[in-house]
Amino acid sequence: MSDLLLPPGIWLILSGLLLAIADQRWRLPLILGAPLVALVGIWLLPFDATWSMEFLGHELRPLHSTTNGRLFATVFSLMALTGGIFAWRIANRVELGAAFVYAGSAVCVTFAGDLLTLFLFWELMALGSTLVIWAANTEAARRAAYRYLILHLFGGMLLLTGIAGHALNTGSVLFVPMQADSMARWLILAGFLLNAGAPPLSAWIADAYPEASPSGTVFLSAFTTKTAVFVLIMGFPGTWVLIPIGLYMIFYGIIYALLENDMRRILAYSIVNQVGFMVTGVGIGTEMALNGAAAHAFAHIIYKGLLLMSAGAVLYQTGKRKCTDLGGLFQSMPWTALLGTIGALAISAFPFTSGFTTKSMISQAAADQHLMIAWFALVAASAGVFLHAGIKFPWFVFFQKDSGLRPPDPPRHMLLAMWAFAVLCIGLGIWPEPLYAILAHPVDFQAYTGAHLVAQFQLLLFSGLAFFVMLPMMKRTLTITLDFDWFYRRLFLDLCEAFSRRTDRTRDDIYSLFMAHWHRLLGSLNRYHGTQGILARSWPTGSMALWAAVVLGISLLMFFV
């Protein structure tokens, strides 16, 4: 089967291009077919298969199969499949096509054996995701897409500069584990981290993703941040600076989500929170931690996809996205409420869900390494996840006060996609061994011990109690919370406007000054040389003869004197 040695992501990219032009009846075959072909391709590739070529004196590996790459490519293809089913009848063709190109380039990144290939598909992802946001076709979405694109092109520029420097320093562009020990590698790390939503530029996730269509946000939640986690695992394992960065992201996500009113922005902040766990794991860098980061990414894509599908279903059925407008929907959307709650339990790492069997590997690794601060922070954060996503999202959307809205459950294909992910959330929670088996390192971790179960139940149930005790303080308000994007959306804009206003005035002053002088010059020229000017008016012939006679007379007098 060596002809299947085409990078598996290419199938998704090609189907994306077809989806953008094909009519409705080709949609379903493409949505179902391409991810399945990609999955077959991923799993038929022999381990360590490599496709090598020469370019500008550098060895490139457009296809290089690794265990981690296979793991991420698998879940990306699953996401394309399930997200595609969810989007089948509700997405427009631009969105669906762009989403598949986006998914395909994410899969291609996981098979990139060199930094140039990685960069190429990295940028293709940026374009695909921008189009997914754009395709929502609202003014807010178009603006958010612009900001998103500018930020990601900036990140791409950091990455490319870093890659060029790295190639100069080492003479190789192969993608191998690195240390952040030179300017070039710091730039590469910064480029990777921008896509992970690391500080200070975390705001783009909550700014851009919730502006996409109900199905668009589902795709967006999966690929960009998780390819960033993948390249961090492959490129910078054990880089200690990732631990504080990851912990910051975890708490940033919790605090901002607690303050947020828009249901999909709550979930977007919680993406930063979850990716923070993975980044911390990469920073810890032991086999257990890296396994934890990869497994958590796998589980996260599924339950976050499920959560955003349930939020998307609510948005699609009600046209509303603010918690202040929602509530009580469980009465008419029981399936959506149930499936969304399963996603919420999984993100909170409730026992018997996928979060329990994956995320806990990261805090276990922190304990094993005796990283006390990190461990205490991770435990507090696990409680915080239940608080800001696990209860807050289902509570304010499906329960709390009765909003009086009685929309029915969404169309069947949307429910089907949600069921598929809900089954995976619980399946991976009860039976994690298949996932453990495809991780990069041998797994020496037992999730289901009495101690772990009791600890997790105590932690989660008491944070649940805290939620209801603090409920009066959590009342939703019609507000947003300022973030770093204030600098480029407000301060920088205001500065530019002030600059433009002042330069405008100065230019007017200079112009009027110049014009005043010009008119004075013209006036004086006119006075002497104008039609009535002394130097330009016509002279009578008689006066000329008189003056000639005077001159002649004087010269005659002079002659005699």
């Binding site: 003014e139 603010k322 507090a380 608080l387 109690l465 005790v469 947003i480």
Partner: protein, 88 residues
């Protein structure tokens, strides 16, 4: 709406039972914790109900911190909208 007309899950009586059930389950996790010993890494984990009070207190802390931060950073949700902009 009268209580009896509401969905059974949101009636006052059900909510009272739900609270009762929650408190029972919370007590149960604490009691079970007495019999199962946590593996000690930092010397804290085996204190009575460590995960319970640690989770509870940190959650309260996070909500309060968010509230305080909100005083400084919260703005109306049309903050970034310019005059003359169309709908969302």
């Amino acid at each position: 709406m009268r209580d009896a007309e509401k969905h059974w899950l949101v009636r006052e009586s059900t909510i009272r039972y739900l609270w009762l059930a929650l408190i029972l389950v919370l007590a149960l996790t604490l009691v079970t914790g007495l019999f199962i010993h946590q593996h000690q890494h930092f010397g804290w984990e085996d204190i009575f109900g460590f995960y319970a009070w640690y989770g509870f207190l940190t959650c309260i802390g996070m909500v309060v911190f968010a509230k305080v931060l909100g005083i400084f950073l919260k703005r109306r949700d049309d903050y970034y909208r310019k005059p003359g902009d169309s709908d969302e």
